[in-house]
Symmetry: none
Subunit: 224 residues, 4 copies
Amino acid sequence: MKNGVEFHQNAETHHRLLEAAGEVFAERGFRQATVREICRRAHANVAAINYYFHDKQGLYEAVLKYALCRVRNKYPTGHGPITPANVEQELHEMIAARLHAVLDLGRTAWHSKLMSREMIEPTEALDALVKEELEPFFQRLQSCVRAVLGPGAGDEQVQRCAFSISSQWVFYHYNRQVISRLNPAMRLGPDDIDALAAHIAQFSLAALKELRITDDHKQMNPRP
Amino acid sequence: MKNGVEFHQNAETHHRLLEAAGEVFAERGFRQATVREICRRAHANVAAINYYFHDKQGLYEAVLKYALCRVRNKYPTGHGPITPANVEQELHEMIAARLHAVLDLGRTAWHSKLMSREMIEPTEALDALVKEELEPFFQRLQSCVRAVLGPGAGDEQVQRCAFSISSQWVFYHYNRQVISRLNPAMRLGPDDIDALAAHIAQFSLAALKELRITDDHKQMNPRP
Amino acid sequence: MKNGVEFHQNAETHHRLLEAAGEVFAERGFRQATVREICRRAHANVAAINYYFHDKQGLYEAVLKYALCRVRNKYPTGHGPITPANVEQELHEMIAARLHAVLDLGRTAWHSKLMSREMIEPTEALDALVKEELEPFFQRLQSCVRAVLGPGAGDEQVQRCAFSISSQWVFYHYNRQVISRLNPAMRLGPDDIDALAAHIAQFSLAALKELRITDDHKQMNPRP
Amino acid sequence: MKNGVEFHQNAETHHRLLEAAGEVFAERGFRQATVREICRRAHANVAAINYYFHDKQGLYEAVLKYALCRVRNKYPTGHGPITPANVEQELHEMIAARLHAVLDLGRTAWHSKLMSREMIEPTEALDALVKEELEPFFQRLQSCVRAVLGPGAGDEQVQRCAFSISSQWVFYHYNRQVISRLNPAMRLGPDDIDALAAHIAQFSLAALKELRITDDHKQMNPRP
DNA sequence: AATGAATGAGCCTTCATTCAT
DNA sequence: GATGAATGAAGGCTCATTCAT
């Protein structure tokens, strides 16, 4: 009972803590997030974290696992075969999905932001994140790259191209503050994000196509 | 005199504090860095920060200004005119310089890492960083982009391409931990960084060239 | 459990902190008082202050409000009408009550001492103290003065007389150390305080009566 | 050499420190005063205090001795005999002098304020202050009191009356903040202080005269 | 003679955690 | 099962003091 309002702090407290912690961890990172703010947002007692998750670290791990689960459901990695016919579409969709995931606002959009944070300031939980989410995703992205570059492309070049592509949406997440200072007129509403995704897809595909052409050209004009 | 070791703590303490603080701030960020660790590394007393920089915030601002100065000297933004003849060379050099700045190891390599951190977790000092370093740099980068895309390119497209290019080296800085897990075989010695810079330059130039061709193509085959 | 002694640190810790803080603030003033000493006397942890009162300033304000409340209950300002018949009695009681309040020893006698301190070294809380306690008290005191001086007394003279009266008991509080050096034989037990109050009342009433007479005299012998 | 201005920090530094310390100690008290502010006002190095006065306590003692000396010169305790003819004039002058000493503004008026502070928050230096200044002053004041009360007055009554008189000007010094809140219209320019001194003298003399009359009356009408 | 540089003790506050119901 | 109360460690900062010229 608080301020005359009573909350059902039974089993769903566990869920409210997960959501509140997700928001706070995504906003501030693990160390800067305080258990008090999390509990305040979740309308829970400070001791609840200890009760449900043992400690702050346990809460963080649970939140990350929860976020991973939610993201995999919301942005499932494609499973169908990649062909020259659908690779452009596939790439565009992957890019748009990830860009929206990190740029969309709203309280429920913390899942991807939290995972981005984990990549910059890793904890012990990074290994699981890499193995369960990033590795499958990059496999799929590299398949797309290989489909455009052609079978002659080396593994290293394919991976570097995949990094070059994914770096572009990650950039907008990490550097939002800088970008808004470099170009105060830039808006990032849903339509703007779509336009941005189109640019990234166009830029990346252009590079991949040109690299393939260049390679053909190289093959045709081998250096002496 | 401490632990039997005597340090010459004269006027150069100011400089030792700057260097030590730079390392710690770059590693941990402003809030997570503790003045005690900084002073320990600098072999200085905690009160020395108050003496020389008034407080932690003052120290941080001094460190950032110092880093900015050092980086501008080490990686000066080019000044000459950009022509179709030298634009590829210019882009390659910009990319290689920045990539080395964020990936090179060693105790003295914290300058760029600190500035990257400031972009992700901005403090009040970000405005100065943007105005004095990032803005001139992006102006130069956009000039390069425009030199390849041709005069018909719009401002928005030019800026987006500049972001797509710079995102690639930033990616390797932020996600080093993830990358080393995705590809444990990857090494990042000086030669590897050069090879990576070559890839990024090649990838980016390929995209720019293709985008120009595409635009020509579009002009030649306007949609109905 | 501390030093083998166990304290019941339940909800009454709040009250113990108030009492301990009252003593220490009264003895040393706000800035000189340390939270460590307060907590030590209250057998509480230093963090308890943050828990119950947010910070030292919040504790001080709570203590002052508490003291104000206690003093008003213990020495309530009279409410009945003041007549020539009861004014001497009323003045004597006011003086005796205040003198006891500032001179009585014992751990529970810090309330008035704290309020005296707030008057000498004011914080932001002084305004409330003036409005809620001092102003009503001085109104009452001035009514007494006016009852003796007669209706012809000007407001300024009345206020000055009220200050002259109240200054006398305040003096003994502030200058106790000096007084004990000027007259080492002086004792300040309860009976001595009563005698002192009798003197102050006698002295003040004598002055007021004489001033009324003097005024009459002046009126009878107007200056040319 | 500071900011292009050179100060002669030779022998007169000692004197500048005394004056600056006097101001600061009078404003803030011993503990709240910081050596840094004193040295800043005196345009001296922080180590100068240690050099000239050994430490903060030594500076304080020197300042108090200096203030005592200055006050005794400025407001010398009268030496002539006290007669019924001059006692009123003498009392008025004593009161006016002390009231001006504690209420006059200006940078050079810290001497009496500092001594008042020492009486409230005594240090080891209080004994000297009492013996050299307060004791002679109170002897003189008590002589005045006795001259009015008559030879029949007891020592205790004389001393109490002396305290009642001196308390009145001390009151205005200690409680200036409270007074300005109780009566925001009150001004304390030189003329106002004179008027106030006149009131205190009038009030006190009225009391003394009435007390003498009362005692005569008592003697004439002894209680059974 | 005089000072810029440096020190360590102590301050208030915040935090994740644990205790005792 | 769930929580209000309480804790100790650590943080940044201020201060009088002392060191090494």
